[in-house]
């Protein structure tokens, strides 16, 4: 009996070891380990044994054989499944360097890219973003900015006038804003200090387009009005911006200049890490007349303002030699960036 059990077990184990597919393993499971399987059949013969001891020994041998067969089946089943998975993976091979089509994402305009980077830097410095109309009254564009009627500086702006006449107003008093500075006035008239705003926006000049000028272009303006704001705050803000926007190795300086709406006025230059200087924009302490026009008492409040070109930031960053191309809407241009 024992030898029959051993023979049946060995035969089953040998067959199981040869199984190569899940189906074969399933068939063998029925054949060797099922209730009607070969080893189960041997159990029926236990009754023909003489002694209790013989029965015990043979029964134990059968159970042991069944365990061995079950374990072999489990192992074989797992191995065969793993093989099948490996085979599937092998058959699914793809070449990932084979591209069809291009990345579909659209391209933001270079001006927008520079604009948003500037906003992000100033927001980080604690500024809000103010906006205003592009068609302006001459009061906001000039008069409130310390350029009364007949002020010679008005002539330097190459202003474009439009034929809108305000109710009860005079013709020739509506302009396409020549700078973003009117937003300073609108902000001061609607908000209480402390004011920490930037005003990026579109501006207009009667300028013939060339490689560096467009009649329609973009500027960013900054305005701070608070108690005891000084030139030192202006210099520090310009420098913090320079380092945040251009990089840690960059520096800045102020040098005297003239603008009707600030006094003292300055130009600000930035210095590349190699030591060379670039003129960037104008700035200064908000002129007392401008604070007054904005409804603020210059004895109580002081402030600074600064401004520079957004388009130039875009051009400098990407080495665009002709600004006209940036506004051509030519996809061959847009898709480079």
């Amino acid at each position: 009996m024992i030898s029959d059990i051993t023979a049946a077990r060995d035969a089953a184990l040998a067959d199981i070891a040869r199984a190569t597919s899940p189906d074969e393993v399933a068939e063998m499971t029925t054949r060797f380990a099922g209730k009607k399987g070969e080893l189960a059949g041997l159990k029926k013969r236990l009754g023909s044994l003489d002694t209790i001891d013989e029965k015990k020994v043979a029964g134990a041998a059968i159970n042991e054989a069944m365990s061995a067969v079950d374990a072999a089946l489990d192992e074989r089943r797992a191995a065969v499944a793993a093989d099948a998975m490996r085979q599937q993976v092998e058959n699914e091979r793809l070449d990932l360097t084979e591209y069809v089509g291009k990345p579909a994402r659209g391209h933001a305009h270079l001006v927008t890219q520079a604009w948003e980077r500037l906003e992000d830097v100033f927001v980080g410095l604690g500024f809000r973003v103010a906006e205003g109309p592009e068609v302006e009254t001459d009061w906001h564009n000039f008069e409130a900015l310390n350029m009364g009627e007949g002020h010679p500086a008005r002539g330097e702006f190459d202003t474009l006038f439009v034929d809108h006449v305000p109710p009860g107003g005079r013709p020739g008093t509506t302009v396409l804003r020549t700078h973003t500075s009117p937003v300073q006035i609108r902000t001061m008239l609607t908000e209480e200090p402390p004011i920490y705003v930037i005003a990026p926006g579109r501006v207009f000049r009667r300028d013939t387009p060339d490689a560096t000028h467009m009649p329609v272009f973009h500027q960013i303006e900054g305005l701070v009005v608070d108690r005891d704001i000084s030139m030192a705050d202006l210099a520090g803000t310009i420098d913090a911006f320079t380092k945040a926007f251009f990089g840690k190795g960059w520096n800045s300086r102020l040098r005297p200049s003239y603008f009707p709406f600030t006094e003292p006025s300055a130009e600000f230059d930035i210095q590349r890490p190699d030591g060379s200087w670039i003129e960037l924009g104008g700035c200064g302490m908000v002129h007392p007349n401008v604070l007054t026009a904005g409804g603020l008492d210059p004895e109580e409040w002081s402030g600074f303002a600064f401004g520079f070109g957004i388009d130039r930031m875009a051009i400098m960053r990407h080495g665009v030699a002709d600004i006209r191309e940036m506004f051509s809407d030519d996809l061959r241009f847009a898709e480079q960036f």
Binding site: E119, G124, T137, V162, P167, P256, E263, F327, R332
Partner: protein
Amino acid sequence: MKILLSWLNDYGDFGDPTNPDDVQRVSDELTALGLEVESITPVGETVEGVVTARILRLQSHPDAAKVQRVYVDAGDGEERHVWCGADNISEDDIVPLATLGTTMPNGMTIERRGILGIDSEGMLCSARELGLGEDHDGIRILPSGLPLGIPYGDALGIRPDVLIDADVTRNRPDCWGYVGIARDLAAKMGVEFRPPTPTIDVTGDERTTPVEIVDGDRCARFTSTVISGVVVGESAGWMQRRLTAAGMRPISNVVDVSNYVMLELNQPNHAYDLETLGGGGFRIRLATDGEHLVTLDGEDRTFTTDDLLICDANDAPIGVGGIMGGLDSEISDATTTVALEMAWFELVGIGRTVTRSGLRSEASQRFERGVDPYGMPLAVARFAELLSETCPDLVVHAGAVDARSEHLPAEQRTAEVRISNVNRILGTDLSADDLPSLLDPIGYTVSGSGDTRTVALPTWRLDSTAEVDVIEEVGRHYGYARLGSRVPKSSDHGGLTVRQQRRRVLRDVLLGLGISEAMPNPFLAPDTLAKAGLDAQSIAITNPLVSDESVLRTSLRPGLLRSIAFNESHRRTGARLFEIGHVYPPGDGELPGEFEALAVVLAGHDAPAAMAVWREITAALGGGARIDQARVPAGLHATRSATLQAGKEPLGAVGEVAPEVLAAFDVTERVAILEVDLDQFLAREPKPAQWKSTSRYPSSDLDVSFRLDEAVPAEKLEKAVRQGAGKFLVDLDLFDNYRDQASVGSRALGYRLRLQSQERNLTDADIAEIRRGIEAAATKLGAELRS
């Protein structure tokens, strides 16, 4: 302002023009004062190898019509032969000779190369070839009596120098003269300032020229001094060289001195020949309308009642006040006695005449910015002193007239300056006692004691009127570089507004959909709006650069269609573009009806593509609109477009551009379009979505398909299906829309519904009931259930 450094050194020891370090220092200090140096040009460099030579004789050659043979003596006693094409030379002239081996500024080297087989042993030079001026018509004849064979630069006293071009801002009228610049620079550099101090020696008998100022608001001071003993001739060489370097052509001693005094003291002036001055006096008045005068530049100019004229005592115009003299008022070679005008004109009036007439001059440029109203006596004395160099018998007559009007700015003007305010604005920690050392050297005289000082404002700085103007001067001379640097901290926080954040999301959605951003010109040609099928009502630019860009856009559409056409013409079909920008329709308020808009154009796509973009936008940003296909927006495809309606207001348009508009813009592809009013759309922030619990029970799907008449919008059927499905509906999708030839006029629409209860498993009976509900609702619309 172009500054010759050697000239500036007349008024202080600023630096050696031949020492690059000195020149750089002067340049840096000028820039630090706000006189930004734009260029530094070396001048007075001479061509090495060019020496003085005397012409011995001239000889023509029978075979050379255009050139002649010239024999010269270059000082070594040897007779040299050169060929020369100029005909302004004659025997005994001293001329510049470029000797063999000389390299000319244009790179040419003088070689022994002749013509007709006869060698040339050098070249005679023109003024231009030597950098002595623009004249290239003949050989530059040098003064007689010069030693021969020496470098022409030494012979003429030319020394290397630099011309510094500094930008003078509008608030620095004083810096249009050398003395003004020198005063500022001397104070900054701590060197002694030496202004000219001529004394006027009035030796002549009394000779008066009556002056009548009629329009005193435009001319507030007019002085006239009679000077006799004038001999018109050439001015001194040093003066000619300085004027030439400053960009002025030497004309005669009188004109040159006049210009020199203007450049030095910033006092424009004019000398009239007293013999020919009608009535021997002046009358200063506004022109009558249409009055005209031939000005010095030879132009016959017509004036208006806003232009100021200088007239003679007989009221005949002889000059345009503060801008340019009349052609006939020029002094002549025969002039011996002049009436010298030094005047002060009101700034803005000069500016108006300059702008209107386009007539501008060195004088007008100075008067427009503000000349010292009290600088005339010094300038008159300086004029006489300089002219007496070439006119030894010059006599200044007594009886000079000094006519003034009540509009003349006061000589004594002061500002009260609080040291607390100086420090508040500059961020400095100065004491009031620091003010005199910063201000006195530039003529702002500080007096008084305590924390508030009285500062007398100099007459040459009419721009300075108030405390803040003085604070700026303190800052400049203290040095901007020495002011501190600190970052102010707002008690408020930074950030973008909701609208600005939503604008960024909108842009990002569109970029993610593969649409690129465009920024076309917002100015249109007058007929472009009509071409785009839009209302032609618009705002015009009254002074456009070109008529093609003379109207403000009222829609983003025309610009984008042009961009599509441009790309199409460059073999880029299928352009997908958007623009976020302002449009400016007319309005009746203080300002036009400007608002911010979005337009998306998809070339090569039809209307559903635009709808898909709109759905992506609303999915990201919330909000929505009714698609009203009954109201076709102007210029869009009549059967494929709709108005986006949000509440009572139209929010935008969606669909396709009308074929005739595409044709007008030379676009051959279909163009799907979406337009949204962003003033409305971005301003509306949807409320945050509120939580609904997700069900633990299994869901069931139900497909229903209907045949629906083409006249009924699918939107209505979808609404009916939703209604019919009731509370168990959790999701609904149109998964099929099918049209076939057999049933034109209607289409099949298949919907897949996902149904689920929050409380229990749905039974077959539930599903059957829902199905009946849907069918009932759809049938009311005339839809027919297909399955």
